[in-house]
């Protein structure tokens, strides 16, 4: 067994065959974390004893003949998803020492299916960022090249999976926070449709955009985790009761009869040539698998960033208001009044980017500005959604780049927030429209950095995205095949 490259599905098959135990899997991962995390800072907290005891419990269940789809499978979890008894600080000083009182619904479902929760992965504070450089616990690094960022905000999860320190990880995606780090680190990043996976227990950033998803080494692992987590939840009113797609439809071998749209707005002149080449090569593979590719237009794409950076901060400004030092988390010393307590606690507790977005959000919601910003953004959001609705009348899925370039260098964009924001330009549209989308590694560039393609599917048609990704991955020689491809 090599935990550095084995997929979750292979690890589970090995557990079923008795090739290894969950305890061995977890010990092996813990050893790799011990050796590698110092350089990458992918994990914030790992409780080795707790992880091992969960693994042993799973092994005992297995020995008793019990079976569950993920029995003994170790998962890393982004620091904004509640796992009972574990830290859940969103990589922020304001939640230093905060322990989750209960499991998020997604975690409870994975736990019921036998998963083992290994540790907490690094992220941009409160998921606000695209490089994991805005973590209060220090930046994470890209395992393919430590001088580069792993992407963000789920950068710790992507780095852990790519570096062999996790078989699979959970992340959250508000504007690309799963897909962009997956593209930068070379793993499969899947964001289900909005409403498919309960957000209960995911510390909210932007409630109308957030969605829990996975970062894995292969497409089948993404499918596996999706089916374990998805489904309606009475504790999240925005989850839907629509039936889940058929699992077979998520495991396609060819793309006969499938129409793939290629939107021209996603291939601007500023797009890095290697990214363009990788995505167009993926389109070629789609055709070779029997798909028809069709040039399409999503005309309101140009408004996506403006809309995203109004809606997300607006919602965040309210969501983060609860961090005030009154009930839990950090409380500043020496306060003389409630207002003083808020000011001190929040000044000390939040980082610069978080403060920037709270201010931005409070501003666009202010009386006198609401119509010009928030309301206009909601109207433009409807237009963006309508673009996709129209496009999906003619095609089953859309193929596009995930990011304008491969992973950028540490520090390159931290002083220029707008440049940092623009790295979400191709991903935020799926969140604004509530669609499902997946980042699939396609090739390595000349610098040895991963290049990825994005598949976007209609809302609640995860099969369209997972099925196409499975066929592409297979065509390239399996989960590690992309590493041998050049662009």
């Amino acid at each position: 067994m090599d935990t550095a490259s084995v997929t979750l599905g292979e690890a589970l098959a090995g557990l079923d065959r008795g090739d290894w135990s969950s305890e061995e899997l977890v010990s092996d991962l813990l050893a790799r974390i011990e050796a590698g995390n110092g350089a990458l800072n992918a994990y914030l907290d790992v409780d080795a004893d707790d992880a091992l005891s969960q693994a042993r419990a799973a092994d005992r269940q297995r020995a008793r003949g019990e079976r569950a789809p993920l029995l003994g499978a170790p998962l890393a979890v982004k620091d904004n998803i509640n796992v009972a008894g574990q830290s859940c600080a969103c990589a922020s000083r304001i939640l230093e020492g905060y322990k989750a009182p209960c499991d998020a619904t997604a975690i409870a479902r994975l736990r019921r299916e036998g998963a083992v929760f290994l540790g907490r992965t690094n992220m941009d504070e409160f998921a606000m960022g695209s490089s994991t450089e805005y973590s209060a616990r220090g930046p994470a690094r890209n395992p393919r090249n430590p001088d580069c960022v792993p992407g963000g905000s789920s950068g710790g999860s992507a780095a852990a999976v790519a570096a062999g320190m996790a078989l699979a990880a959970l992340g959250s995606d508000t504007g690309g926070s799963i897909r962009q780090p997956a593209a930068f680190c070379g793993c499969v990043g899947f964001k289900p449709s909005y409403g498919r996976v309960s957000r209960y227990g995911l510390t909210a950033f932007a409630s109308s955009l957030d969605q829990i998803g996975s970062l894995t080494r292969g497409v089948d692992d993404a499918t596996r985790l999706f089916f374990s987590m998805a489904g309606p939840d009475a504790r999240d009113a925005t989850t839907v009761t629509l039936p889940l797609p058929a699992p077979e439809a998520c495991r396609r071998e060819d793309l006969k009869g499938v129409v793939i749209g290629v939107p021209k707005e996603y291939f601007p002149s500023a797009l890095a040539p290697d990214v363009r080449a990788a995505v167009l090569a993926a389109a070629e593979t789609c055709r070779a698998l029997g798909a028809e590719t069709r040039d399409i237009s999503l005309p309101h794409t140009e408004y996506a960033m403006a809309v995203y950076y109004i809606v997300a901060p607006a919602e965040a400004s309210a969501n983060l208001a609860r961090f005030d030092g009154v009930r839990y988390g950090r409380r500043a010393a020496g306060a003389t009044s409630p207002m003083d307590l808020y000011c001190r606690t929040r000044s000390e507790g939040f980082g610069r980017e978080v403060k920037r977005r709270i201010l931005l959000g409070a501003y666009v919601l202010s009386s006198g500005y609401y119509d010009a910003y928030y309301l206009s953004a909601q109207k433009a959001r409807t237009l963006i959604r309508d673009d996709f609705t129209a496009a999906f009348r003619d095609c089953d899925a859309i193929l596009a780049p995930v990011t304008p370039s491969a992973a950028f260098r540490m520090g390159e964009k931290t002083e220029d927030p707008v440049q940092m924001y623009l790295t979400d330009v191709f991903t935020a549209t799926a969140n604004l429209a509530g669609l499902c989308a997946l980042s699939l590694p396609c090739a390595m560039n000349a610098d040895g950095l991963p290049l990825a393609a994005q598949l976007i599917g209609p809302a609640f048609r995860e099969d369209a995205v997972l099925g196409a990704a499975a066929a592409l991955e297979r065509a390239w020689g399996g989960p590690t095949g992309w590493m041998g491809r050049r662009a």
Binding site: I81, R235, A314, A321, R322, R327, L365
Partner: protein, 474 residues
């Protein structure tokens, strides 16, 4: 110069639901601080609201009762402001798309019926309760998340007493429909008032102030009286009333400025993304329509019409739903509704007031009260016996017919028995006899009392008086 006031009220009514607005915590009053809380109502990271459908229905029911338009689709919104008793530092409320629009509450004012127009009724969650202890403060979040219905009137009330009449009518209605306990001491009804004053005859409203912290009906009256006087004095002295929020201080009996218009909060409302819009289908509204009870006014009219009660009786009996229900059931099985009304208004209400119990907590059934009255009407027991019997029924329960039998309380009307007691009374009280014969007719009452005592209360009082008069004549 004469001035006139215009008052609008924002009334917060706690709904009577088992659980809170957005979580499964109990909505019961009381208990140790912070024991009825969970991650949702404490605003923990990751917690999300799950809507209490019963709260929505009670609000819509109220809307239907006041003839409001219940919106087919209404929207929750976040209202942001920082305060220690606010778990999330935003309150889930409704803003531009409330559950109910318009409607009116009928009140009695200046001897006539007046309809007080409503602007809207919306649904929101309550906040916690702060307490201050010397150098520290605490917050109890048991109340946080309890469903609140906010009822906003048009600025059409003209006097503090009219505002009071509106609140009384509203309270009566929500209690009737089981929408709220309507208990002011427990903070079930709280109120803010907008108040302005203008010269009589002017058409535009004067500059208004908003008065906060009106937590008792008496407080509303006193605060409005004070505030109207204050504004009149400002205007009479040639000044201008400042648009501001003022706080009522029940201790000093005054209002004081809390914040000016410039310092007013910007609540930064936006639609709550964690909740779907609330849909109200026509079938649901029809089902709610069927839940509307007979309201106090209709009931008063029916009591007058069907039972032949005077208006005064109907008003007293209809004021409280439990009392009205009890009367209704008793009167229905009684041959003497007016007697039932008298019993309700005297013995029953007095006993309830004396013991602090509710009708539901007493063992007396309407049928039993009707039987008791029938026993009196048939002359089987006299009134003093009936009253003491009722006290027994109220305290310990029991069937009046059986009790009369067991205790031997049946009224004695036989001329032999009464004659014997009367002769004894005359023999043993020569002074009273002399008094009576010398023209002091009141002495007869004393002698009747003696007969009653000898009969252990069972003698027919009228027959006893007749027997005595007969003896004394001779």
């Amino acid at each position: 110069m004469t001035y006139e006031a215009r008052i609008g009220l924002e009334v917060h009514v706690q709904l009577k639901t088992r659980s809170k607005m957005f979580c499964a915590c109990s909505a019961e009053f009381g208990d140790e601080p912070n024991t009825r809380v969970c991650p949702v109502c404490l605003g923990y990271p990751g917690a999300m609201p799950a809507m209490n459908r019963e709260a929505v229905e009670l609000t819509a029911l109220t809307g239907l009762m006041v003839g409001a338009q219940v919106a087919p689709l209404s929207v929750f919104a976040r209202k942001s402001y920082f305060y220690p008793d606010m778990p999330k530092n935003y309150q889930i409320s409704q803003y531009d798309r409330p559950l109910c629009i318009g409607g009116a509450v009928a009140i009695e004012w200046e001897g006539r019926e007046k309809l007080v127009g409503l602007t809207r009724i919306h649904l929101e969650e309550d906040v916690g309760k702060s307490s201050h202890f010397g150098t520290s403060s605490g917050v109890d979040f048991n109340r946080a998340g309890i469903p609140l219905m906010e009822i906003v009137t048009e600025p059409v009330l003209t006097a503090p007493e009219e505002a009071d009449a509106f609140l009384q009518a509203l309270r009566q209605m929500v209690r009737y429909a089981g929408v709220s306990d309507g208990n002011m001491e427990r903070g079930n009804i709280r109120c803010d008032a907008n108040c302005s004053v203008r010269l009589r005859g002017e058409t535009a409203l004067g500059a208004k102030t908003e008065i906060k912290n009106l937590n008792t009906f008496k407080g509303v009256l006193a605060a409005l009286r004070y505030e109207i006087r204050r504004q009149q004095d400002v205007l009479a002295a040639g000044g201008r009333v400042a648009m501001e929020t003022r706080r009522w201080d029940g201790e000093t009996g005054t209002t004081a400025s809390m914040r000016s218009k410039e310092e007013a909060h910007d609540y930064r409302y936006f639609p709550e993304p964690d909740l779907m819009p609330v849909a109200m289908a026509p079938e649901q509204l029809a089902a709610l329509q069927a839940r509307i009870p007979e309201l106090p006014r209709a009931r008063r009219e029916r009591f007058c019409r069907d039972y032949g009660l005077p208006a005064y009786d109907s008003e007293v009996l209809a004021a409280d739903k439990a009392v009205a229900d009890f009367f209704d059931e008793t009167a229905r099985v009684s041959d003497n509704p007016k007697a039932v009304s008298n019993w309700m208004m005297t013995e029953v209400l007095a006993k309830l007031a004396e013991t602090g119990r509710t009708l539901a907590e007493t063992p007396v059934a309407p049928r039993q009260l009707a039987e008791l009255i029938a026993l009196v009407d048939r002359g089987q027991i006299n009134m003093p016996t009936a009253k003491s019997l009722f006290a027994t029924m109220f305290d310990k329960g029991g069937d009046p017919v059986a009790l009369v039998e067991q205790e031997g309380l049946a009224q004695v009307s036989s001329a032999d028995d009464i004659g014997a007691w009367a002769r004894q009374a005359v023999e043993e009280n020569p002074k009273s006899v002399a008094d009576y014969r010398s023209g002091k007719k009141a002495a007869l009452q004393f002698l009747v009392g003696q007969v009653m005592r000898r009969s252990r209360g069972r003698a027919h009082p009228q027959k006893a008086a007749e027997a005595l008069e007969e003896l004394l004549k001779g």
